[in-house]
Subunit: 176 residues, 2 copies
DNA sequence: GACATACCTATCGGGCCGATATATCGTGGC
DNA sequence: GCCACGATATATCGGCCCGATAGGTATGTC
C-alpha cells in the first residue's frame, strides 16, 4: 500500500510519537535531551513535517487545548506504525555524518603558533568532557522505552570520554 | 578592515586554497579523500562560495584553461590569508555535529525482534570497520602540509576502530 | 498582582547535500 | 586513426534542515 519514503526527520517523529502521544513541542524537547549528541531537529522542520505526515495518513492529530492555548497531540495510525516498522527493519544504508570544526582547524594547523595549537587541543578536549558530564548528570531518559535509550546514553558518554582522551593524547604528543 | 564572517564552507575553501592554488573541482576532490569522515562539501556549495569569496576579495581567480576546457585556478589574497588566520586563532565555539541513523534505530528498538537487532548492530559495526579500513588503505594525504592531515587521518582510523569496538560489545551484551 | 518561566505553534533566511546536465581532455584498445 | 571511457571542470535545481525570531497562553512564585 502506501509505499512512503520517510524523510529523516519523519523517522524521528514517528519514533518519538510511538513512545506516546506527543505535541511538536514535546518532540523537540525529547530530541534535545535524549538525542542531542547524535541527532538534531528544529521547529521549522517538525511542524511542517507533522502536517505532511498527517496528510499521508501516518499520524493523526487531535486538538487538545490547554485552556485558551491551542495544542495538537499526535498519535500513530496503523499505517504510521507499519511505516516505522518498515524503516526499522529495512537494511537500507544508514546515514552517518560528522561535522567537526575542531578537526578542521587541526587539519589546517600548518605554520601556526604551537602555543595556540595547544590551546586549541585543550579547548576541544574540554568540549567533549563537558558533553560527557552533561549526559552523565542528565541520567536515564525516556524510561520504559526498552534498552535502546539507556544504551544510546551510554554510547554518548563513552564516545565523548574517548574523544577527550584522544585530544588529551594529541596535546601530550605536541609537547613531546 | 574587511570584518568578514566566514561561512563554514568558506573556511574549508580558504584552507584548501592555502595548500596550493586550486580549482573548485580539486577542492572537492581533496575534501572527499582527506576530510570525508568529518566534513563534506558539494559542488553546489563550492562554486557559488568561490565567487562570493572573490567578490569579498579573499581569493583571486585566474582563468587557466586546459585547451578548450575552461578552468579557473584560485589563490589567496592577503585579505584571505588574514581571514583564514583570524578564524584559526579565534576562540569561537566550534561546530560539532553528529548524525547517526544507526543510533537512532537502536534508540527506537523497543519491541523489535532480537535477531533483527543483532543484525543491525553487526551491520553498523561493519560500516565503521569499512571506514577505518578505507582510511588505512588511503595512506597519508596532503603531504607537506604539516602534522595536521596525518593526525586527522590517525584520528579517523582510531575513532572508527573505537566505534566498531563499541558496537561489537553491544552485540555481545545482547547475546548475554 | 506582577513577573519569570514554561508551554505551544509558526515562519523566514540561508546553508547545505545529492543528483544531474554539459562539455572537454587524456588514455588505452583495436 | 578512431572510439569508448574515465577524469577534469563548471553549473544549477529540488529539497532537507538549522537557528533565530515572533507571538501567544498557562503556571508558579514572590
Amino acid at each position: 500500500m502506501s509505499d512512503v519514503t520517510l524523510a529523516p526527520t519523519a523517522r524521528v517523529i514517528l519514533g518519538m510519537v510511538r513512545m506516546g502521544k506527543r505535541t511538536g513541542y514535546e518532540i523537540k524537547q525529547l530530541v534535545d535531551v535524549s538525542a542531542r549528541f547524535f541527532w538534531t531537529t528544529s521547529y521549522g522542520q517538525i511542524y511542517p513535517e507533522l502536517k505532511r505526515l498527517e496528510k499521508q495518513g501516518l499520524v493523526r492529530g487531535e486538538a487538545d487545548p490547554t485552556g485558551g492555548r491551542s495544542r495538537t497531540v499526535y498519535s500513530l495510525t496503523r499505517a504510521g506504525d507499519a511505516a516505522l516498522d518498515a524503516w526499522l527493519s529495512s537494511p537500507d544504508e544508514l546515514v552517518w555524518e560528522m561535522r567537526d570544526e575542531g578537526l578542521l582547524k587541526l587539519f589546517f594547523s600548518e605554520g601556526r603558533d604551537p602555543a595556540e595549537l595547544r590551546d586549541h587541543l585543550r579547548s576541544v578536549r574540554e568540549r567533549s568532557e563537558a558533553v560527557a558530564a552533561r549526559l552523565r548528570e542528565l541520567g536515564p531518559v525516556a524510561e520504559g522505552a526498552g534498552p535502546g535509550p539507556p544504551m544510546v546514553r551510554e554510547f554518548g558518554i563513552a564516545l565523548n570520554e574517548w574523544l577527550a582522551g584522544w585530544w588529551k593524547r594529541a596535546e601530550e604528543s605536541i609537547d613531546a
